[in-house]
Symmetry: C2
Subunit: 337 residues, 2 copies
C-alpha cells in the first residue's frame, strides 16, 4: 500500500477500501502491509457489537439503527461487518447479504461487508479487528459488528467492541437458556426485539431482575467494564453502568431512537469513566499477543520437518508418547527450549 493509496482510502475512496479489505481478509502480505500503513490513523471509531441467538432479528436491527444514525445532524459514516460462521451451503456471506436493504447499499456514507472466516481459532476475532482498523482509518465513525450466537468466539469478537448490544426476542421459559448461554454478562445494552410478540414486557422485567441480581451480588456493578476499570485504572471508583433493557420492533423501526440514545449514553459513560481508554489498551495488548503467538508458530513451523512431525504424531497415535511430551520433544529438537 503506497502513500497515494493511503491518501485515497482516507479521502473515502470505496474501491480502494474494498481492495484493502480483501487483501486483509486473505491474510496476504499486501494486507499485512496495509494494516501497518493504516495503523497510525486508527483509534477514533466507536465499535459496536451486536449479538444474540439466530432469529432474534439482528440484521433488521442493524439496518434500522444504521438508518437512524445516518439521519442524525452529523450524519456519521457507518460501516457494517457481518460475521457469519462459514457454511459450505451458503458460502457464508450469501444469506447475510440478502437481507440488507438496497437504500443502505446505495448510501455513500454506509459500507457493508460480510465475512465468513474459517480457519485458525482466533481467526474470527483477528479478522474482525483488522477490518475494524481499516474502516477506522477510512474515517468511518461507527462500526457495527454483527455476529451470530454467544459462543466463545463471539465473545472474543464483541470484546473488541466498545459497546455490546445483546438482542433477544420475547420468550417464556427459554429465557433461562439465554442466561445459560452466558450472554447477559457481555451486554452493555439489552434489546428485546420483535416486541409486538406476546411476553415482551415479561421478558424485559425478567432480564432487568436478572441484571439487578448480578448487580447486587457483585457488590458494585455486575458488569465487566466497570470491574476492568476498577482493577486496571483504579484511581477512583468508576460509576457503574447498569445495562438498560429496551424494546424494539426493528422491521418497523420502532424503539430505534431510544436504542441510539442508549448507545450515545454508553459512549459518554465509557469516555467519562476512563473505560474507553482501558478497552483500547486491552484490545491493543491482545493484538500484540496474537501477533507474538502467530510469529512464534510461524517460526516453529518453518523449523520443523513434516517427516519429524509425522513420526512424532505416529508415536502419539500408538500411545507411546503423550501430546504434551510430543510437543516438548519437538521443541527441544528444534532449538533446545
Amino acid at each position: 500500500m503506497n502513500a497515494q493509496e493511503v491518501k485515497n482510502l482516507i479521502r473515502g475512496d470505496r474501491l480502494t477500501l474494498s481492495r484493502i479489505l480483501s487483501q486483509v481478509e486473505s491474510q496476504s502480505e499486501a494486507g499485512r502491509q496495509a494494516l501497518e500503513a493504516l495503523f497510525p490513523f486508527t483509534g477514533r471509531a466507536h465499535k459496536i457489537g451486536i449479538t444474540g441467538a439466530p432469529g432474534a432479528g439482528k440484521s433488521s436491527l442493524v439496518n434500522a439503527l444504521t438508518r437512524q444514525l445516518r439521519r442524525q445532524p452529523d450524519a456519521p459514516k457507518v460501516a457494517i461487518i457481518a460475521v457469519d460462521p462459514t457454511s459450505p451451503f451458503s458460502g457464508g456471506a450469501l444469506l447475510g447479504d440478502r437481507v440488507r436493504m438496497p437504500d443502505l447499499q446505495r448510501d455513500p456514507g454506509v459500507f457493508i461487508r460480510s465475512m465468513a472466516t474459517r480457519g485458525a481459532l482466533g481467526g474470527l476475532a483477528a479478522a474482525t479487528e483488522a477490518f475494524s482498523q481499516v474502516f477506522d482509518a477510512a474515517g468511518y465513525d461507527i462500526i457495527l459488528i454483527e455476529t451470530v450466537g454467544a459462543g466463545q468466539a463471539e465473545v472474543e469478537v464483541v470484546n473488541l467492541a466498545h459497546t455490546t448490544i445483546v438482542v433477544d426476542t420475547p420468550g417464556t421459559g427459554d429465557d433461562i437458556q439465554a442466561i445459560k448461554a452466558g450472554i447477559l454478562e457481555i451486554a452493555d445494552i439489552l434489546v428485546i426485539n420483535k416486541a409486538d410478540r406476546p411476553g415482551a414486557d415479561q421478558s424485559v422485567r425478567y432480564l432487568q431482575a436478572m441484571l439487578e441480581m448480578g448487580y447486587a451480588r457483585s457488590g458494585t456493578a455486575g458488569h465487566h467494564a466497570s470491574e476492568t476499570v476498577n482493577s486496571v485504572a483504579a484511581e477512583k471508583p468508576a460509576e457503574p453502568w447498569l445495562p438498560p433493557v429496551l424494546k424494539t420492533i426493528a422491521i418497523e423501526s420502532q424503539g430505534i431512537e431510544d436504542l441510539l440514545g442508549a448507545i450515545q449514553a454508553h459512549r459518554k459513560f465509557l469516555l467519562e469513566s476512563g473505560t474507553w481508554q482501558v478497552k483500547e489498551r486491552q484490545a491493543l495488548q491482545k493484538a500484540i499477543q496474537r501477533a507474538i503467538a502467530q510469529n512464534l508458530m510461524d517460526f516453529w513451523e518453518a523449523k520443523i520437518t513434516p517427516e519429524l512431525f509425522e513420526a512424532t504424531l505416529q508415536s502419539v497415535v500408538e500411545r507411546k508418547l503423550s501430546p504434551e511430551s510430543a510437543a516438548q520433544y519437538l521443541l527441544q529438537t528444534i532449538q533446545g527450549l
Copy 2:
C-alpha cells in the same frame, strides 16, 4: 497421580475420577501429570457431540439418550460433559445441573460433569478434550459432549467428537438462520426435537432438501468427514455418509431408539470407512499443536519483563508502533527470532 490412583481410576472409583477431573479443569501441575499417566489408556471411547441453539432441548435429549444407552444389553458406561459458557450469574454449571434427572445421578454407570470454562481462546476445546481423555481412561464407553450454540468454539468442541448431533426445533422461516449459523455442515445426525410442535415434518423435509443440495453440489458428499477421508487416507473412495434427519420428543423419550440406531450406524460407518482413525489422528495432531503453542507462549512470557511489555504497549497505544511491529520487536529483543 501415582500407580495406585491410576489403578483406582481404571477400576471405576468415582472419587478418584472426580478429583482428577478437578485437577485437570484447574490446569494444575497435578492435572497435567494425570493426563500424562492416563494417556496410554485412552483411545477407546465413542465421543458424541450434541449441539444446537438454546432452547432446542439438548439436555433432555442427552438425558433420554443416556437412559436408552443404559438399557442396552451391554449397558455401556456413559459420561456426560455439559459445556456451559461461563456466566457470573449462574456460575455456569448451576442451571445446567438442575435439569439433570435424579435417576441418572444415582446410576453408577453414569457420570455427569458440567464445565464452565473461561480463559484463553481454545480453552473450551482443550478442557473438553482433557475431560474426554480422563473418562476414556476410566472406562467410559460413551462420552456425550453437550454444548450450546454453533459458534466457532462450539465447532472446535464438536470437532473432537466422532459423531456430532445437531438439535433443532420445528420452525418456519427461522430455519434459514440455522443454516446461516453454519451448523448443517458439522452434523452427522440431525434431530428435530419437540416434534409434537407444528411444522416438524416441514422442518425435516426442509433440512433433508438442504442436505441433499449440499450433497449434490459437492459432487461426492457434502460432508466434512468424508472429505477428510478422501484427502487424508485416499486409498479408496469412502462410502459417503448422508446425515439422517430424525424426529424426537425427548421429554417423552419418543424417537430415542431410532436416534441410538443412527448413532450406532454412524459408528459402524466411521470404523469401516477409516474415518474413525483419521479423526483420532487429527485430534491428536491438534493436541500436539496446542501443546506446542502453549509451551512457546509460556517460554515467551517467562523471558519478557512486564516493564518491557508495558513500554512497548504504550508505544502502540500512542500509535508509534503497530501491534505486528511490537510483536516482532519483543521477539527480537528476547531471542533474536
